[in-house]
Amino acid sequence: MSAGSDAAAVDLSVEIAGVVFPTPVMTASGCAAAGRELAPFLDVAGLGAVVTKSVLLDARSGRPTPRMVETPSGMLNSIGLQGPGIDAFLAHDLPWLVQRGARAVVSIAGGSLGEYAELGRRVGSSPGVAAVEVNISCPNVEERGLVFACDPFQAGRAVGAARRGIPREVPVLAKLSPDVTDIVSVAKSVLEAGATGLSLVNTTLGLALDPHTLRPVLAGVTGGLSGPAIRPVALRCVWQVHAAMPEVPIVGIGGIRTGLDALEFLAAGATAVQVGTVTFHDPSAPERVAHELRAELATRGICSPRDVVGVAHREPG
């Protein structure tokens, strides 16, 4: 295909371990609920996938308010994984997505290895799950509240526990935190534990003070920073992991706002991307980014997003 081709000639579909996604652009966990609220603004079936808000075993009320604060080109959130629990999710939310023909990537989160194992079994035995994303940025109650994702060993144990109950044909994506010294070693650990691919990255921990009281704004004190403010950090993580393990499927996440942003993540080594915080700004963003990515590829005479994965690592010429 020559430069400046027809956008209609671009096939946006991508594949992660045998599962085909019609576009590489998914929603990000925690930024799309379970898809229903975005239905007035986009076609959920047309998205690469809807990655649902992390579900826990039991219902969770979440933290007190204020739960969010706007920061330059981003926001901090401290929601505390409010949700209905796995029973209500499987009864109401998953069937809604499946009935509409959306690909459901179910994000699970636990406070212990036992919870990850149980959630893996419950979700793994549910029909219509395209993939499972394991959110390991949670405190481990059995290890003094240390976050699983911050320790390669515990990260691997959590992912391994979830993986055991999930059928082989269902890809398992481990969602990693950028708040680590060496993200490649965490990536290796979760892949050895059975992860199919990696979702890079979760929010990075931040703090905002109230200008009048000089006290933390968030009831939870610290919060996860997301949005375009963290895009270079996320892109760096994708780059580092792809450089170390070019064969591993990566889903790039962090401040993606436009098709060009998405293209950068593909070039750095991602097979697919997720649009998160920008959905709060523009509820149709996950669909728009896919359209823009198609145009970006067409302009460059590229037929498929598969052809640009990792090209940033190649020497020019």
Partner: protein, 292 residues
Amino acid sequence: MTGDGAYRPLQVRGRVLSNERVGAYHHLTLVAPGIAERTRPGAFVALAVGGDETSMLLRRSFSAYRARESGVYGGTVEVVLAVHGRGTAWLAGLRPRDELDVVGPLGRPFTLPKEPVPCVLVGGGYGSAPLFSLAERLRERGCAVHMVLGAASQQLLFGVLEARRSAQSVEISTDDGSMGVRGVVTDLLPAVLDRTGGAVVYACGPMGMLGAVAGVAADHGAWSQCAVEEQMACGVGVCMTCVLPVRGDDSEVRMVRSCTEGPVFRGDRVLWDAVGTVPAGTVGAPASTAPR
């Protein structure tokens, strides 16, 4: 309300028709095709601020002041805003023909009484904005409409003249006594309810005022419908930041979203004193966690 049926907010490119200063506030009129036709009193719109390359990602949500189905330029939605920060300052600086992204109508509007009963509408500051279109709807149903407006000072009242035109009686309070009675709306409300036989109280304003109004209404055996002003990031139900503790039909307390389950709540269902906390016993609350 979040199903696929009747409730379908739109996302449109809005255009500023006018932007006028009214006392301490700004009255922004937007041509927003399709949104006006669907907007009922109590519903809100979520506006993107700062333009296409903005560093301000979160939408700013405002109750609809008025919605007109068709004018020369198409349907318009009007909002009233106060400048609190950079986002609202940007909105205040918009000029006719400027464009911005508008999502709406959002949220559950005020519920109207089935019978033509007397209603008392209570507004704090520019929280009075959604009450005027509500008054119109109530009058159409044969309800007597009375209004109580309050603010810190005369300058911070909104719509006093319009209230005098649209309500059978209007009472006013200001903290500093610069207009009406020195005090707060709940100093006036009991007598207004006694005098009018008000069966339903509608209120919009700061959280503290809403809790007090709901309490007075309950003491007088009146229903109350309160439109809350919680901080929202998205306005459409995906961010989970605008929650407050509300008792459901099953008498369980849940942290519910004010954007999708609200912004209008029955006053007797919100745990006003616990707003900002997760009260013990809330569905999903940790057994031993005290609110921080």
